[in-house]
C-alpha cells in the first residue's frame, strides 16, 4: 500500500515513508551520539598512548597502549578492586540468603505480627539510606568487633553488613513465592519434610528467575556504593574501587587517561553483569515497578 511502482517496476517506498525512515535514522544516530559516544571516548582515551592535557579526550585509541591501565592498577586500583570484589561477593550472598529466608516466611506463613513486619520492611524502601548515614556511622563505631579499630569502622564488616538488609529483594521474592502453587509444598509435607527442607529443596529452585533479578539489582546496588565506604573506610587499605576512582581524580599530574582507566575498570563488571542477566534486569524493572 505504501509503496509506489517506478517506471522500471521496482517497488520503492513512497516519499513520505522514506522521509520518515530517514528522520528515524537521524534520531537513532543522535541517541547513539548522546549515550554511546561519551562512553566510547572514555575507552578510546584510556587506550591512547599520546599525552593528554587536562580535559582532552580522544575519539580513537591513537598509539594504542595499556600504560594507563597499568598505572591506575599500581595507584590503588588493585587494592580497591580486591576490596570491592570481596564486598560484593560476600554482601550479595548474604543479601540473597537473608532475603529469600524472610520472603519464604512472609509468602507462606500466617502469623501474628506479620503485617507489622511487612510494613516495617517496606517502609525502609521509601527511606533513602543517605538519610540515616550519619547515625549509622556512629552506630558502626559503637558495635564492638574483632578488628583493628575495635568496632565495625574501617573493616569489611562495616562495608558489608549495612547492605545485607534490603527491602527490594524481599519484596520481589515474596511476590514471586506467593505465586508458587501450594500443592507442591503440601505433598512434600506429607512425606515428612520440614520447613527448611521444603524451602531449600522445593521453593528455592523454583525461584531462580526472581533470584536472577535480585542478583542483578543487588550487584549494582553494592558495587555502586559510595557514601557508605566514604564513611567506613578510613585507611586506603580498606578503600573500595569507587573511593579509589575518586581519589585519582585529585591526582591531576597522572593525566586524564589514568583516572579514566580506573573508572573504566569500575564500569566493566556492572556492564558485564547487566549484559549477561539483561532479561532478568528488564523483567525486574518492569515487575517491580508495575506492582509498586
Amino acid at each position: 500500500m505504501s509503496t509506489t511502482k517506478t517506471a522500471l517496476g521496482i517497488r520503492m517506498p513512497s516519499p513520505r515513508l522514506l522521509r520518515g525512515k530517514i528522520a528515524r535514522g537521524v534520531l537513532y544516530l543522535l541517541v547513539l551520539a548522546v549515550f554511546l559516544v561519551p562512553v566510547w571516548s572514555m575507552v578510546a582515551t584510556v587506550f591512547s598512548g599520546i599525552p593528554m592535557k587536562s580535559g582532552e579526550i580522544s575519539l580513537f585509541p591513537l598509539d594504542f597502549t595499556f600504560n594507563n591501565i597499568i598505572q591506575a592498577w599500581n595507584f590503588g586500583v588493585a587494592v580497591g578492586l580486591f576490596n570491592s570484589v570481596v564486598v560484593v561477593v560476600i554482601g550479595l550472598a548474604l543479601q540473597l540468603t537473608v532475603s529469600s529466608l524472610a520472603a519464604y516466611s512472609l509468602a507462606r506463613k500466617k502469623f501474628r505480627g506479620m503485617s507489622v513486619v511487612m510494613v516495617l520492611i517496606l517502609a525502609t524502601m521509601m527511606m533513602p539510606e543517605e538519610v540515616i548515614a550519619i547515625p549509622l556511622y556512629l552506630v558502626l563505631g559503637q558495635i564492638p568487633a574483632p578488628t583493628e579499630s575495635g568496632s565495625l569502622l574501617n573493616s569489611f564488616g562495616g562495608l558489608i553488613l549495612p547492605l545485607v538488609g534490603w527491602a527490594l529483594p524481599i519484596y520481589v521474592l515474596t511476590g514471586f513465592m506467593r505465586n508458587i502453587p501450594l500443592e507442591l509444598e503440601e505433598s512434600a509435607r506429607m512425606d515428612g519434610a520440614g520447613d527448611f527442607r521444603i524451602f531449600w529443596k522445593i521453593i528455592l529452585p523454583l525461584c531462580k528467575p526472581a533470584l536472577g533479578t535480585c542478583a542483578v539489582f543487588g550487584f549494582l546496588m553494592i558495587w555502586d556504593q559510595y557514601l557508605l565506604p566514604l564513611l567506613v573506610a578510613q585507611t586506603p587499605a580498606k578503600y573500595t574501587l569507587t573511593l579509589i576512582v575518586t581519589s585519582l581524580q585529585s591526582s591531576q599530574e597522572l593525566g586524564e587517561g589514568v583516572r579514566l582507566a580506573a573508572a573504566l575498570i569500575l564500569m566493566v563488571p556492572g556492564v558485564i553483569v547487566y549484559l549477561i542477566l539483561q532479561k532478568f534486569f528488564e523483567r525486574g524493572l518492569l515487575g517491580g515497578s508495575l506492582k509498586g
Binding site: 541517541v31 524472610a102 527511606m127 533513602p128 550519619i134 552506630v139
Partner: protein
C-alpha cells in the same frame, strides 16, 4: 514434649526463625540508627565530654541556617528539573526505541549503558567532558557551532545546571525502560480502534497512549522524587557543593556538618527533618493514589 505439642511449637516458631536474620540486620543497621538519629537531634553531641540536652535548639538553628536553606532549594530545584526532563526524554526515547527488531535492541542497549554504569564513573567521565577550557570535549562541540567556551561546573551560574545534565543523562534511559514496559502493556485493540476511527498519529498518542501510561507515570514520578531528594554522589564528586555553594544539596550539607565539622547533633536533626519530609511525601503519594483508585 509430645509430638503434637512439638509440632505446634515448631509451627509457631519457624516463621520467626526464617525472619530472624533479616530482622536482625534491619534492626541493627536501619531501625536503630533511625531512632538513634532522632534521639541525638535533641543533643549537643560531644565525643568524650558527654552529650548535652539542648531541646529543640538544633531544629531552630536548622530553620535559621541560610546555607541549609540554599541547599534545600537546590535539592528541590534539582529534583523537579531532573525528574521532569528525564520523564519527558525517557518517554520520547521509549516511543522511538520500542520494538522487537535487532537494530532497535542495539540502540536500546547502547542508550541503557548509563543506567548500569556506577554514578562515580558517570561523574568522572563528565568531569572530563565538561572541562571548562576550550579543549574540553563539550566545549569543542560547542565551538564547532560557534558558541564560545563555557565554564560549566566551574561557573557558579552553570554548575547546578551542568550537574542536572549529568543526572538526566543517567536517569532518562532508566525512565525509558519503564515506559517501554508500559507501552507493551497498552491494549493493541485500542490502537486498531483508533485507526478505524481515522485518528492521526498525534491523536492516537494523545488519547490512547498517554492515558494508558498514567499509572506508570505516577511510579516514575515517585521513584524520581525519592532519587532527587537523596542526591549526593554526583554532587560530591563533581563540585563538592561549589563553586561558591551553588550546588550544595541537603545530603552534601549533612555530610559536611556531620563528618567534616563534627556537628553530629545538628546533622542528626537535619536527618530527622529529611526523614519526616520523606515520610510525609510517601503518605501523600499513597493517599493520592488510594483516592484516585476509589474515584
Amino acid at each position: 514434649m509430645g509430638r503434637i505439642t512439638r509440632l505446634k511449637f515448631m509451627r509457631g516458631v519457624s516463621p520467626w526463625a526464617f525472619l530472624a536474620p533479616a530482622l536482625l540486620v534491619f534492626a541493627v543497621f536501619k531501625f536503630w540508627p533511625t531512632l538513634y538519629g532522632m534521639f541525638l537531634s535533641f543533643f549537643n553531641v560531644r565525643p568524650y565530654l558527654g552529650n548535652q540536652w539542648i531541646g529543640f535548639d538544633n531544629f531552630t538553628r536548622a530553620f535559621n541556617d541560610p546555607t541549609l536553606f540554599a541547599a534545600t532549594w537546590h535539592t528541590l530545584l534539582d529534583a523537579a528539573v531532573t525528574v521532569a526532563a528525564s520523564m519527558l526524554i525517557g518517554f520520547f526515547l521509549a516511543l522511538l526505541l520500542e520494538g522487537p527488531t535487532l537494530h532497535l535492541r542495539i540502540v536500546r542497549t547502547a542508550a541503557f549503558l548509563p543506567v548500569v554504569t556506577a554514578m562515580v564513573v558517570v561523574a568522572q567521565l563528565w568531569d572530563v567532558l565538561l572541562y571548562p577550557g576550550q579543549y574540553g570535549a563539550v566545549n569543542s562541540v560547542l565551538g564547532a557551532v560557534g558558541v564560545g567556551p563555557q565554564g560549566f561546573l566551574s561557573d557558579p551560574n552553570q554548575a547546578l545546571g551542568s550537574v542536572m545534565l549529568v543526572q538526566i543523562w543517567k536517569s532518562a534511559p532508566y525512565d525509558m525502560v519503564i515506559f517501554i514496559a508500559g507501552l507493551a502493556g497498552v491494549d493493541r485493540q485500542l490502537y486498531d480502534a483508533a485507526d478505524i476511527d481515522g485518528a492521526s498519529a498525534w491523536q492516537r498518542l494523545r488519547y490512547v497512549t498517554i492515558p494508558a501510561l498514567r499509572p506508570i507515570t505516577t511510579i516514575v514520578l515517585t521513584l524520581g522524587i525519592i532519587r532527587g531528594l537523596r542526591v549526593f554522589t554526583e554532587i560530591f564528586v563533581l563540585t563538592n557543593g561549589g563553586p561558591a555553594g551553588s550546588t550544595e544539596t541537603i545530603v552534601t550539607f549533612l555530610y559536611k556538618a556531620g563528618i567534616e565539622n563534627n556537628k553530629l547533633g545538628y546533622a542528626s536533626a537535619i536527618s530527622t527533618m529529611l526523614l519526616i519530609a520523606t515520610v510525609v511525601l510517601t503518605c501523600l503519594n499513597l493517599w493520592w493514589r488510594a483516592r484516585k483508585d476509589r474515584s
